[in-house]
Structure formats: structure tokens, C-alpha cells
């Protein structure tokens, strides 16, 4: 089933290791970082909006 004979072969990628892992590495990095950034932005936005709403309700009281 598995095409590779050894783990070293898999890493070496028939001499294309740098290109293959350079592609997959950046891809994985982007797909890991993007959701983190989006989640952080959401948390920051929620916190800011909550502060604004509290400030508004105080000023109208």
C-alpha cells in the first residue's frame, strides 16, 4: 500500500524534498495561522464592542 520504503526516502522525496516540503510547509503554516488570526480578531472585536455598549448605556442613564 505505502509507496515509500523508508522514512528517509519520504523526506528526501527523490531529490525534490526542498521543493515539496517548502510547498506543503508554507501551506500548513497559512492554514494554521489564518484561523488563529481570525479568532483573535473576533475576540478583540467582541471585547471592544462590549466596552462601547457599556459606555453608551452609562452615558444614557
Amino acid at each position: 500500500m505505502i509507496y515509500w520504503n523508508s522514512f528517509a526516502d519520504f523526506i528526501h522525496m527523490g531529490g525534490y524534498g526542498l521543493y515539496v516540503w517548502g510547498s506543503f510547509g508554507v501551506n500548513v503554516l497559512i492554514m494554521a495561522i489564518e484561523p488563529i488570526v481570525v479568532t483573535r480578531n473576533q475576540k478583540a472585536t467582541k471585547a471592544r464592542l462590549k466596552r462601547q455598549i457599556r459606555a453608551e448605556s452609562r452615558s444614557t442613564e
Binding site: S23, N27, E34, P35
Partner: protein, 248 residues
């Protein structure tokens, strides 16, 4: 009370916000499952390519990223058209939520293409019709984001951005057909509905990766659209209730 399915109801941010929140974990899980299955087939099971050696394995992410970069743009242009025609609130938010992910997909397409091109063609970059039109797509995404960010009023930003999206949509068929219309260095399409020039494991691996990218894009776009909804609808009662219900 009628229980009829109403599209307008789901197009309202107040109902779409919780719906998207419920769907995100499912899309994220689907993305991980498709990704693992695709990587297993593509990286571990699929045989080598007789012409390109193991370097061909880059296409398992290059092709899905390229497809998504074009598809996301088409979806954004669709929302832009809806927004300009019917003045719906959701459409502009959807387009804005998709743009960064689309830009990242275009970047990934170019990045993985460069890393494939260096060993195969001997050059990171050539001014070939396919590559150049994909680069223009990246610039369109960046231009859209810069334009909408520069206009304070979100409704006006949506209109201006939407216009840019609709003008730029002409670039997508140019990318897609460039390998047919011009004599490009970039190879023609590998996957075809009628016949495919790939081994079955390679084809399935690539299709699974495409599904992974698709589910990922939906999950991230939904996450982003929820933030945009809170921001834009901050004066409405539903956002106030949503934020107060959020104990943390």
C-alpha cells in the same frame, strides 16, 4: 405559524450569525478529514510520476489552491452582483469575509507553482499567460481589500468594491483558458470530466485535497463573516443580546 423555509430569513445577519456559528465546527472537521485522507493518498500511496519524479506531489496542493483562488473570486463577484442589484446587507459582508482567504489561495497557488517551476522548468517565475493572469488575480484581491478598507462607510465600500470585483471577473476565464488560448509553458489541465491523464490514486488524492481546501475556505469565511456582522450591526438589538449572552 408557518414553518416554511424562507431564504430571506437566513439572509438576515441575526439568523445567519448563529447558523454560521453552528456550522463552522462541521466544516472544520470535514476539512481535516478530507485533508488527512487526501494527504494519505497523495503523499503516501500514490506512485511517482514518470516524468516529474516526486516533485509532482506539489500539485496536490497547487491545483486545489488554484481552483479555490478562482472559485472564491467567482463567489465574491456573485455576492457583489447580488449586492449591487438588490442592495442586500449580507452580500457585502460575505464578499469581505472571503477576500483574505481568496488572496491567500492565490498566493499559495503562486508559491507552490514557483517551487514546482524551479526544478521542472529551471525558473521560479516566467511571464507566461497562466502565471501572469494568476498574479493579476492576487492583485485584484489585494486591490479589493485595500479599496474597501479605505472607505469608511461600509455600504459605500461594498458598492465600490463590488464594482471592482465585477470588472475583474473577466480575469477568471482568462486564467482558466489561458493554457488553451496561448502557447503557455504552463501545462494544460490534468483533470478532465471525460478523461483524466492521471492515475486513480493521484486523481482521488487531488479531489480529496480540493474538498479539504473547499471546506477550509467555508469555515474560515464563516468565522470572519461573524466578526464583520457584529461590527456592522453593533447598534442592533441582536448584537447587544449576543454580546451580553456571551459571559466571557
Amino acid at each position: 405559524m408557518t414553518d416554511r423555509f424562507n431564504l430571506y430569513k437566513y439572509a438576515a445577519p441575526a439568523t445567519f450569525y448563529p447558523l454560521a456559528g453552528k456550522l463552522i465546527p462541521w466544516f472544520a472537521a470535514a476539512s481535516v478529514i478530507f485533508g488527512l485522507a487526501g494527504l494519505y493518498l497523495g503523499m503516501l500511496v500514490a506512485p511517482t510520476d514518470f516524468q516529474q519524479g516526486e516533485g509532482y506531489r506539489i500539485i496536490f496542493i497547487h491545483v486545489p489552491a488554484s481552483w479555490m483562488s478562482m472559485f472564491i473570486y467567482l463567489v465574491m463577484a456573485f455576492w457583489a452582483a447580488i449586492g449591487l442589484a438588490f442592495n442586500t446587507r449580507l452580500s457585502g459582508m460575505m464578499a469581505q469575509a472571503l477576500a483574505p482567504t481568496g488572496a491567500l489561495m492565490a498566493f499559495l497557488s503562486l508559491w507552490t507553482g514557483a517551487l514546482w517551476g524551479k526544478p521542472m522548468w529551471g525558473a521560479w517565475w516566467v511571464w507566461d499567460a497562466r502565471l501572469t493572469s494568476e498574479l493579476i488575480l492576487l492583485f485584484l484581491y489585494i486591490g479589493y481589500m485595500a479599496l474597501t478598507a479605505a472607505i469608511d462607510d461600509p455600504r459605500r465600500a461594498d458598492k465600490a468594491g463590488g464594482l471592482l470585483l465585477l470588472v475583474g471577473v473577466v480575469n477568471v476565464p482568462i486564467i482558466y483558458f489561458s493554457v488553451k488560448w496561448w502557447n503557455t509553458l504552463h501545462q494544460g489541465s490534468t483533470v478532465n470530466l471525460t478523461k483524466s491523464s492521471m492515475a486513480t490514486t493521484m486523481l482521488y488524492g487531488m479531489l480529496l485535497m480540493a474538498l479539504c481546501f473547499w471546506m477550509y475556505s467555508i469555515a474560515v469565511a464563516f468565522m470572519r463573516v461573524r466578526t464583520i456582522m457584529l461590527e456592522r450591526e453593533r447598534h442592533t438589538d441582536w448584537v447587544k443580546a449576543e454580546l451580553e449572552g456571551d459571559a466571557r
